[in-house]
Amino acid sequence: MPYIPHDNAETAAMLEAIRVPRLEDLFDEIPPALQSDVSALPEGCSEARLRREMEERAAEQAPLRCFAGAGAYAHHIPAIVWEIARRGEFYSAYTPYQAEASQGTLQLLYEFQSFMTRLTGMEISNASLYDGASALAEACLMALRLRPAAREILVPEGLLPHWRRVLDALLPMQGIRLRSLPQDPHSGRLLLPEENFPEAAALILPQINRFGLLEEVDALAHWAESHNLLRIAVVNPLALALLKAPGDWGEQGADIVVGEGQPLGVPLAAGGPYFGFLTCRRDYVRQLPGRLVAKTVDAAGQVAYCLTLQAREQHIRRAGATSNICTNQGLLVTAATIHLATLGANGLRAAAARAHQQAQRLRALLARLPGVELPHAGPVFNEFVLRLPRPAPSVRDGLLAHGFLAGVPLIELNPADDPHDLLVACTELSEDEDLDGYASALAGVLGEM
């Protein structure tokens, strides 16, 4: 019996001890009409058979060189990251409510919080939310708790469309309105709004925007400050190895920073599990959603760690909690913490710079192809839009046979976008030979079409 240790004699002895004749009798309080079975499910199989089937399915598709991004990136993950994260003591531990039995996870989370505050230039970091997009929704709710009179959030159109959809799903239920702010159609960057927004609590500031472009964050933050709006920064944590930390934007810095943790040691895995991070000013800590670890001492006066301010959370505050989140994305945070430590400041900077440089190179290479254009001129980190002479989805499909996942067609993210636009990302794994291979495969595919 896979995973169940009892042999027949043990089962019999246990039933005897509790004076129950048969296993089935353990369910005798359940109305017979409700008892059914599930024989429509498959038969079980051996571990060997399972491995074989899954290996076959996983190998159906030959590996692709990945130039897709739009929020999730094919970065290098050092071998030690998951070698450690997968250790049973991390992998199979529960949420660290029992501090004394969880010092490993707790200290690691404390280090994660420290890394994230340093990276974002903020004072407080939680220990993860589900993903970047839902973290942004939580940040909006947090902003509205900080500005109880407000009812609106200002959302630039430069936010990734799939993130925007998450806001659309989560916020209006609570009566919150999302006001879209347009991007400049030429530069692709956010226009400084001319209006006033008296009902708004906060401005979302995605640095990098959905076209891969860098925004003028200081000017934008300054505008928000002067309109008494909270600033919610949305950032790529790897890009922060190079880019100005949100804590330094404008005069006062951002108020809340969120982002998708995937670039920090988390496998692409077709979309998850990833993790969202959220950092903020110290003043706002009681409105923070998600877990928080503090450094304290034990009864002997030694350094120790524990969860803190649990009164914000659902298991204490119930309907009044700052969020309904309970199970979060702990193991991914474990990996991210190890990843950050392994790369260190130098490794992070090097990876970010290389991703940027390769994107610059590829952008230039591809722009030389006949009919291919670059719709935007602004500075980018590792991702840019390519305007193709043919619809992007079919070009992308054509490149699959050459072993490339060429990017993400913008219309697949947002049906209103130009069907010829393809969002292309590089990482430090994009080697020169890949860029050249991409360029010549693209030339070939366009030639055939």
Binding site: Y3, S36, A101, T105, A133, M173, A294
Partner: protein, 472 residues
């Protein structure tokens, strides 16, 4: 000696970088450490050894279903062919993955007796949010916009009211009867045209099966409201009772509990939602549709009534693959065995503890996969609290049960052994609990000062909140 990663500086002057980015958008310094690979490995390996975990300890943690997480599931879920897929990979290049997800959707529908499943919620609480949002959408689609109230038993898990609130509902709490069943009179009194639904779990968080569930369903439906099922306790009835057949309209499953995907020190989980046909149109997107060879993600346009998208992509795929592997490996008979042995282990412990003199809540009832004891007698006798019993258990290498939940029972411990613990492991727990009971009466300070043999002594949580040192 305090070991911290921040001590590993090794400051090399960073190389000058060539960047095509305006200087005012760049940062000056990056205040992170620079450890060597060995320093990282050693630091985190040592940290890991300070944890309790399923792989090293028994975790009778009620409501959490801390059972064995088969390693083969980790292996197959992290095959490069799955783990390196970008979420924007077109369906033609992801058929193997999509087939697994489609199968899992079908299997979960069968197991829950529901019409359709969406795998996207990232955890139980997000599944709850999806479910109650679907209830909201359902009423609204029918123009029934007055239903702003959600009924929830007092004993419910905290995520239930929190999720209801996030979906814009107000919450009314319902009492339980002394025998653990729901108070039907209170339910009748609470129902009305402003009630959108009720959130229940069955077996309830009191560790007993709600026997009147069909009556409850009839009452709720009769009042025009819907029933939400919190699937966190599905391990108790897996393969035997289907929430859909009990009368529930929508539910989530905690794949990280019942389907043996690991807890990872806090997550990730997966809170797949399943719905009866009238709620199916509202399920969150995206879902997999299609047949062998032509699976694909359903487009937004195909699901105009959906409550929408709860996270940027399609959910915690890696967790879903583990759950898929678990079902495939166990099959229908294996899944039924899960609930049989979960129940056997719980009832065995409940009997054993009662024989030792512990007070069992709802002692006249069958335990399901879990049960509650109260140590209020010890509290009266020697001021020992449930917390102290919990901490003392740690000294024996046994993780503390869930304590002070459900809040209904004073000084309670909620104990869930799960089916993957052996008789030997349970017998040892009973021995240890007998010893702790003796200690509580004879040397209560041993408990109040516990733990004694862990990497740290009892941690000062009050100071933690006062100082609030949460980063450095």
């Amino acid at each position: 000696m305090e070991e911290t990663i921040f001590a590993c500086q090794h400051e090399e002057t960073p190389a000058e970088l060539e960047l095509a980015i305006p200087a005012h958008l760049l940062r000056d310094d990056l205040p992170l450490p620079n450890p060597s690979e060995l320093e990282v490995l050693r630091h985190y390996t040592r940290l890991s050894q300070k944890n309790f975990s399923i792989d090293t300890n028994f975790y009778p943690l009620g409501s959490c279903t801390m059972k064995y997480n088969p390693r083969i599931a980790h292996e197959v879920a992290t095959l490069p062919g799955f783990s390196r897929l970008h979420p924007a990979t077109p369906a033609v290049a992801a058929q193997g993955l999509l087939r697994n997800l489609a199968e899992l959707q079908g299997w979960l529908a069968e197991l829950t007796g529901m019409a359709a499943v969406s795998l996207s919620p990232a955890a139980g609480a997000q599944g709850e949010l999806a479910g109650v949002a679907m209830i909201r959408a359902y009423h609204q689609a029918r123009g029934d916009t007055q239903r702003q109230r959600m009924l929830i038993p007092q004993a419910a898990h905290g995520t239930n009211p929190a999720s209801a609130r996030m979906a814009g509902f107000t919450v009314t709490e319902l009492p339980n009867l002394p025998n653990g069943d729901l108070d039907l009179d209170a339910l009748r009194a609470a129902l009305g045209p402003d009630v959108a639904g009720i959130m229940l779990t069955n077996p309830s968080t009191l560790g007993v099966f709600e026997r009147q569930i069909q009556e409850v369903a009839a009452l709720v439906h009769g009042a025009g409201a819907l029933l939400y099922y919190d699937g966190a306790n599905l391990n108790a009835i897996l393969g035997r009772v289907k929430p859909g057949e009990m009368g529930f309209d929508v539910m989530h499953l905690n794949l990280h509990k019942t389907f043996a995907t690991p807890h990872g020190g806090g997550g990730p989980g997966s809170g797949a939602v399943a719905a009866a046909s009238r709620l199916a149109p509202y399920l969150p997107v995206p879902r997999v549709v299609g047949e062998a060879g032509s699976y694909r993600w359903e487009s937004h346009a195909e699901r105009p009534e959906s409550i929408g998208q709860l996270s940027a992509y399609a959910g915690n795929i890696g967790v879903l693959l583990r759950a898929h592997a678990y079902v495939r490996r166990l099959g229908h008979a294996g899944l039924r065995r899960v609930s049989a042995y979960a129940a056997l282990n719980a009832n065995y412990l409940m009997h054993g503890l009662r024989r030792q003199g512990y007070t069992v809540a709802f002692a006249e009832r069958r335990a399901t996969h879990e049960f509650i004891i109260s140590v209020q007698d010890l509290h009266k006798a020697s001021a020992v609290r449930a917390l102290d019993v919990a901490k003392r258990l740690l000294d024996f290498g046994i993780h503390a049960p869930t304590i002070y939940f459900p809040q209904l029972v004073p000084e309670c411990l909620l104990i869930e052994p799960t089916e993957t613990e052996s008789k030997a492991s349970l017998d040892r727990f009973l021995e240890v609990m007998a010893q702790i009971r003796r200690e509580a009466l004879e040397e209560p300070e041993l408990l109040r000062n516990a733990p004694h043999d862990l990497p740290v002594r009892r941690v000062d949580e009050t100071l933690a909140a006062r100082r609030l040192q949460v980063a450095e």
